[in-house]
């Protein structure tokens, strides 16, 4: 424990220098600007910055990316409050109450609450990141191929079930992501799968160009197809962070922090689920329940704390297991790999200092958003006045650069185009991208784990279901999927109700 504290102290000290502070503040500022602009996601921001920082030192590059990640989700609350359009999907839960407060002439107060909620939520998440990452990595050292198979499958299934409105479409996207991940030379024998004789496909579909396509190009098409521009509500009151409300609603803050971290840890669930679950939980127990959706401080605080605490939550499994908790965490993981850092259980063995460096970076990001919540709020909002017809073509140029720069291949640009066009048309038909991203990231792990597991068990499927952790993960995966099928859900609820009646009748 003391060794951990020592490494943590060393990490904090190492970032107290001029360039680290400049990189941190710069990354957060860029993130806030991107987050303010509706349609531009944290995933896209991190993906583009990964290419921009590819030649930098690993710690400097990851610092910029983490600060941008935190900044983007914080910045998204501003357009949610002032435009009633979430800057990122994670800020959707802030729209109702934030915008309602703005219409009452309290836009500044809403932004101040968003700042204090975001700061407190992220700080709580950082604490959990420092405590749980080493512990989870320790547990993961005992995981074998069987456990990693179920973890990967659980992540994709959970993401498909929870993200979006249609679980079947979610599972289909998860399967599609897993399938696309199989394209190219497979990891055991370098055999070309689904290349159809095309050499360019032997390297597979690279993750970052695919993500830029799904979250960048698809968003450019969506934004430009919809010509409706919204009017920004003017801010007349103070935007200073409201920490008095943090103390007044401390139960909401604590509950939302926990919910956010847990949803962040669950693979593929992400910050938007953290925000909505925190919002729903706050509404269920709040004394001002009838105010939710009409300008409730409790609601806004819950949404912002929940979505921001999910950021460090999503980084925990990425570092400890090599399984990202959200789409932006997936890009962050890809960036770490590009810079020579291998996330997973061995990270705490080979480079434990890096885990504490990430804790220090996330703390720095938290402080940065507080600084930008105190200063530069109004100037930064000028970016909301830039028309989409000007912004989106420039974003597409950046997407092209971002797709090309990773491996200097034009093929990656074409991959970005194809994935982006597919993502655009699929999104219009109600298919979500998060399960697809998770499938793309976890496809290789799932494939290798399945094949290694079968070799170890000599073809027997028994260990996949009888090992304790496997059994638990299999049960949760299957139950989660079954619960989202209405016919099964109704019967399970009826059976559960019958069981409860039986038990209580016996007790009487």
């Amino acid at each position: 424990m003391f060794e951990g504290l020592q490494m943590l102290g060393h990490s904090y000290l190492s970032f107290l220098n001029f360039w680290s502070i400049v990189y941190g503040l710069g990354g957060a500022l860029l993130g806030i600007l991107v987050g303010c602009m509706p349609g531009l996601s944290a995933t896209l921001c991190i993906a583009l910055l990964t290419t921009l920082t590819i030649k930098m030192e690993p710690n400097d590059a990851i610092l910029i990316l983490i600060c941008a990640y935190v900044g983007t989700l914080y910045g998204g609350s501003r357009s949610a409050i002032l435009l009633n359009i979430p800057g990122t999907a994670a800020n959707a839960a802030s729209c109702a109450d934030g915008y309602a407060l703005a219409r009452k002439g309290q836009a500044g107060r809403a932004i101040g609450i968003a700042t204090s909620g975001a700061f407190t939520g992220t700080l709580f998440g950082v604490l959990c990141l420092a405590m749980f990452t080493p512990a989870l990595a320790e547990i993961a050292l005992s995981f074998g191929a069987f456990e990693f198979f179920w973890l990967a499958l659980f992540g994709v299934a959970m993401s498909g079930s929870i993200v979006g409105e249609d679980p079947i479409k979610g599972w289909l996207m998860g399967c599609l992501g897993l399938l696309v991940a199989q394209i190219g030379q497979e990891g055991l024998y370098a055999y070309d799968r689904f290349t159809f004789g095309w050499d360019e496909l032997s390297g597979g579909i690279a993750l970052i160009p695919a993500l830029i396509g799904a979250f960048g190009f698809a968003e450019v098409l969506t934004s430009l197809a919809d010509p409706i521009e919204r009017k920004i509500i003017e801010m007349r009151d103070s935007v200073l962070p409201r920490f008095r409300e943090v103390f007044q609603y401390w139960r909401t803050v604590l509950r939302s922090g926990v919910i956010g971290v847990v949803t962040g840890i669950l693979p593929g669930i992400g910050e938007d689920s953290g925000a909505w679950m925190s919002y729903a939980a706050a509404k269920a127990v709040s004394k001002e329940r009838d105010q939710f959706g009409k300008g409730s401080i409790d609601g806004l605080m819950a949404a912002e704390t929940g979505d921001m605490s999910a950021i460090p939550g999503g980084i925990i499994p990425a570092l400890a297991l090599g399984i990202p908790g959200s789409a932006p965490a997936a890009v962050l993981m890809a960036a770490m790999i590009i810079h020579g850092i291998q996330p997973g259980p061995m990270l705490m063995i080979k480079t434990p200092q890096f885990v504490y460096d990430v804790v220090a970076m996330t703390t720095m990001a938290t402080i940065s958003i507080l600084i930008f919540g105190l200063f530069l709020v109004r100037p930064l909002l000028l970016v909301l006045r830039v028309k989409r017809s000007v912004l989106m073509p420039i974003i597409f140029v950046l997407c092209t650069v971002g797709a090309f720069a990773i491996a200097s291949r034009l093929f990656d640009v074409y991959s970005m185009l194809v994935v982006g066009i597919g993502a655009f048309f699929l999104r219009r038909r109600g298919y979500e991208m998060a399960p697809f991203v998770l499938g793309l990231v976890l496809g290789e792990l799932l494939d290798k784990s399945l094949r290694r597991g079968l070799v170890l068990s000599d073809g027997s499927l028994a260990p996949f279901f009888t090992r304790p952790i496997c059994a638990a993960l299999a049960l949760v995966t299957v139950l989660t999927m079954l619960m989202y099928i209405p016919a099964v859900n109704v019967r399970l609820r009826a059976a559960w109700g019958g069981l409860k009646r039986l038990v209580f009748r016996r007790k009487e």
Partner: protein, 194 residues
């Protein structure tokens, strides 16, 4: 009077938003749409399963048969067929084959479709047609941004009789964006551009 006009404009704006949201929702949950898509998914699943089944089992390399390359892709193909079939059944239960609500294509919907295909064509022309074809990147980016901004703002500028000004503004934005992006990525951050 100006207040009445502003209120009317705001009401029209909200109505247009609501119409667009309703059209988007209808596209996402349409049983007929789900029915057609499920057939596509089932076809993809069957094709994947067949290709996986026919993949080389690498017997000549004397590999463990449980590590055959087509194993997981085969499972995925079957899973896609199963989920596709589930969606097919669900859409049939929701009367996908029955009479569907008639949605007349409004002028707003036609304009949205035109914009969508225009932007798609421009982006493909830039990324596949201009980039990496011998033109300096800053010039390709400048051409793309200028043409796209001009086309997207064409109607709006025309209504205000500012077409020439609009093209000039688009040109300035395009050239500035092309040069700035090239400078920042290539010169400051040493990232290779196409």
């Amino acid at each position: 009077m100006p207040d009445v006009a502003a209120e009317a404009a705001a009401a029209a704006h909200e109505a247009a938003e609501a119409e667009a949201a309703a059209a988007a929702h209808a596209r996402k949950v349409s049983p007929r749409g789900d029915f057609i898509q499920s057939i596509g998914w089932i076809a993809l699943g069957i094709a994947t399963t067949i290709v996986s089944w026919r993949m080389d089992r690498l017997e000549k390399q004397d590999i463990n048969p449980y590590t055959a390359p087509g194993l997981l892709p085969g499972f995925l193909g079957v899973a896609i067929v199963l989920f596709g079939a589930l969606m097919l059944y669900r859409s049939w239960r929701r009367d996908a084959l029955g009479p569907q609500p008639v949605r007349l294509a409004t002028e707003a919907a036609r304009a949205e479709t035109r914009r969508m295909w225009t932007v798609l064509a421009l982006c493909i022309a830039f990324a596949a047609g201009l980039v990496g074809r011998g033109i300096p990147f800053w010039a390709a980016a400048a051409i793309f941004v200028t043409v796209t901004v001009s086309l997207l703002q064409f109607a709006e500028r025309g209504a205000r009789n500012e077409r020439q000004r609009g093209i000039l503004v688009a040109l300035v934005i395009g050239i500035s964006a092309g040069i700035l992006i090239t400078l920042v990525f290539q010169e400051f951050f040493l990232v290779r551009l196409p």
